[in-house]
């Protein structure tokens, strides 16, 4: 793995409820380099909350704590909102699941991208327009001039998502957190959006955190995968080895997918075990890096 962009140690997100404190994320640790890091898990596993916590987007009364949460060696844990806003966008950007809710419906797309760019670069407007056009072209929008003057409801879901990515990339962030960026898209559009993100990681050396529930997609798209269960990482594994995962939870998830090439009458059902909640992490890289004798 290349240099570490983002380092997270023992990240916890807790929400006080009537029944006591609910921990949505319970001690997550990982390092992100210039790579595509997949985070998979079921709903409620804390994968989205991890992304939000890194960006300081956990709303009160939610509390974020960590031993370490550093971006390029600088702590970004619980920064005041004003400083966090400077980091969001210029250093870390986020793409949400549904572009419909992330774009302002009454502002032209071009204006929104230029606004995003200007906020972080603080340069002249002519420059911003060029940059916006360039970004739209970078996300493979064929007619950027026309799209600049369109309103969000005038574009399709796939194009909306590409525009979101363009907007997030305008200020040239080092890290992109994509929370289920393709779940609302059709399969044919999905490939395009993924290609764009893939190229950005390769060409710009960005770090990508790709949050998804789709194991197959993550296995094919990412370099490394964290599997989350009940607020913890239960296994980290090279994406290409995902299908040989060792944790019973990961195996269970993989098996429960229907497959066209292997018809069965009944799908295997995941039997959850309480021990998974607190069992130690299965980390493939640790085992491969450390000789067995140690």
């Amino acid at each position: 793995m290349s240099e570490t962009l983002l380092s997270v140690r023992d990240l916890r997100v807790a929400f006080p409820t009537r029944q006591g404190v609910f921990e949505a994320v319970r001690g997550v640790s990982f390092d992100l380099g210039r790579e595509r890091l997949g985070v998979v898990g079921e709903s409620g596993s804390g994968k989205s909350m991890t992304g939000r916590a890194i960006l300081g987007l956990v709303r009160p009364p939610g509390k974020v704590t960590a031993d370490r949460l550093t971006l390029d060696g600088q702590s970004i844990l619980n920064l005041p909102e004003r400083k966090m806003r400077a980091i969001r966008g210029s250093h870390i950007s986020m793409v949400m699941q549904d572009p419909k809710f992330s774009l302002n419906p009454v502002v032209k797309i071009g204006d929104q991208i230029m606004e995003a760019y200007r906020l972080h670069a603080g340069r002249g407007s002519g420059n911003a327009r060029d940059k916006a056009l360039e970004m739209l072209a970078a996300v493979q929008i064929r007619d950027p001039e026309r799209v600049m003057d369109a309103y969000p409801h005038e574009v399709s879901g796939g194009m909306g998502q590409r525009i979101m990515i363009a907007m997030m990339l305008a200020p040239d962030p080092e890290i992109l957190i994509a929370d289920e960026p393709t779940s609302a898209l059709d399969v044919s559009v999905r490939t395009e959006v993924l290609n764009i993100m893939d190229r950005l990681v390769r060409d710009r050396g960005m770090g990508l955190i790709f949050i998804s529930h789709d194991l197959n997609l993550v296995a094919q798209f990412c370099d490394r995968v964290l599997i989350m269960y009940a607020g913890r990482i239960v296994e980290t594994i090279e994406a290409k080895n995902l299908h040989n995962a060792r944790h019973p939870y990961t195996q269970g998830l993989l098996n429960s997918l229907p497959r066209l090439d292997q018809p069965v009458k009944h799908l295997p059902v995941l039997e959850r075990q309480d021990s998974w909640r607190d069992a130690p992490l299965i980390d493939e890289s640790m085992e491969t890096e450390l000789p067995g004798g140690l």
Binding site: R199, H213, N216, Q220, L253, S256, L257, V269, L270
Partner: protein
């Protein structure tokens, strides 16, 4: 069991008229499980809604159990024959009605007696225990809600179930449970399924035959065996199968 012939469905009036489905025809035999596959906007859910009588702007012929239906009007016999399970279990249950209320109201509407026992039976059928009977939707997980929705559909003891993406809002492990449940229920009650999905693997798992839709038209009707072998005759179907297989780095 179900025949659809030359079905057109449209929304709005000219010049803003949108033709959601154009000239769709297919038949589903008694006891068969038939899939409708396509991307969003292809009109697959619209067909189900037209059959169920939730849309009245359609033309063509829909014959259910040898009875031709018209517009939005459906008689009691239709509701006893055809039921539907919706995509989003968070939207298909009334937020202020408990499971008990949902099921017993349904049973009453269907003119059933011995409601107390039947509610219990339905809950057992869909694998929810006694403890769930008096819960409200917000006390249930997505999978449990979808089980309640299935129980509601089964209450009428229908023979044809229209399934509108019944698992697309659920986690894969829960999807497996629900799909298994539907497989079992079909075998047990001799049900006929028409299942809409964007997921080829799910349709491949559940159905015998499927129709592939694009832009409101049915491009191809094929057997699931052919789908498994990738033996599609239309280019669109082939591209769909390829895209569903997963992401291949460009």
């Amino acid at each position: 069991m179900l025949t659809v012939e030359g079905l057109d469905v449209w929304f709005g009036y000219p010049p803003d008229r949108v033709d959601a489905v154009q000239d769709a025809s297919f038949t589903v035999a008694q006891g068969e499980s038939f899939g409708l596959v396509g991307e969003s906007g292809s009109g697959k859910s619209t067909i189900l809604r037209a059959i169920a009588g939730l849309i009245d702007t359609w033309s063509g012929r829909i014959v259910v159990d040898d009875q031709q239906v018209e517009g939005r009007r459906r008689d009691r016999a239709f509701h006893k024959t055809v039921q539907m399970v919706f995509q989003d279990p968070y939207a298909s249950l009334h937020p202020r009605h408990s499971v008990d209320r949902v099921l017993s109201e349904t049973l009453k509407l269907q003119g059933m007696d011995d409601i107390d026992r039947r509610v219990q039976r339905l809950l057992d059928d869909v694998g929810l225990g006694r403890g769930f009977r008096f819960r409200y939707p917000h006390q249930l997980s997505g999978g449990q809600r979808q089980r309640v929705a299935i129980a509601r559909a089964l209450a009428a003891e229908p023979r044809l179930l229209l399934l509108d993406e019944p698992t697309s809002a659920l986690d894969v492990s829960v999807q497996a449970e629900i799909l298994n449940l539907m497989t079992d229920l079909r075998a047990e009650h001799g049900l006929t399924y028409v299942m809409v999905s964007h997921d080829l693997a799910v349709v491949g798992h559940m159905c015998d035959r499927l129709a592939v839709m694009q832009g409101g038209r049915i491009v191809e009707v094929m057997k699931v065996e052919d789908l498994r072998q990738g033996a599609a005759s239309e280019a669109y179907t082939k591209s769909l199968i390829e895209a569903s297989a997963g992401y291949v780095r460009a």
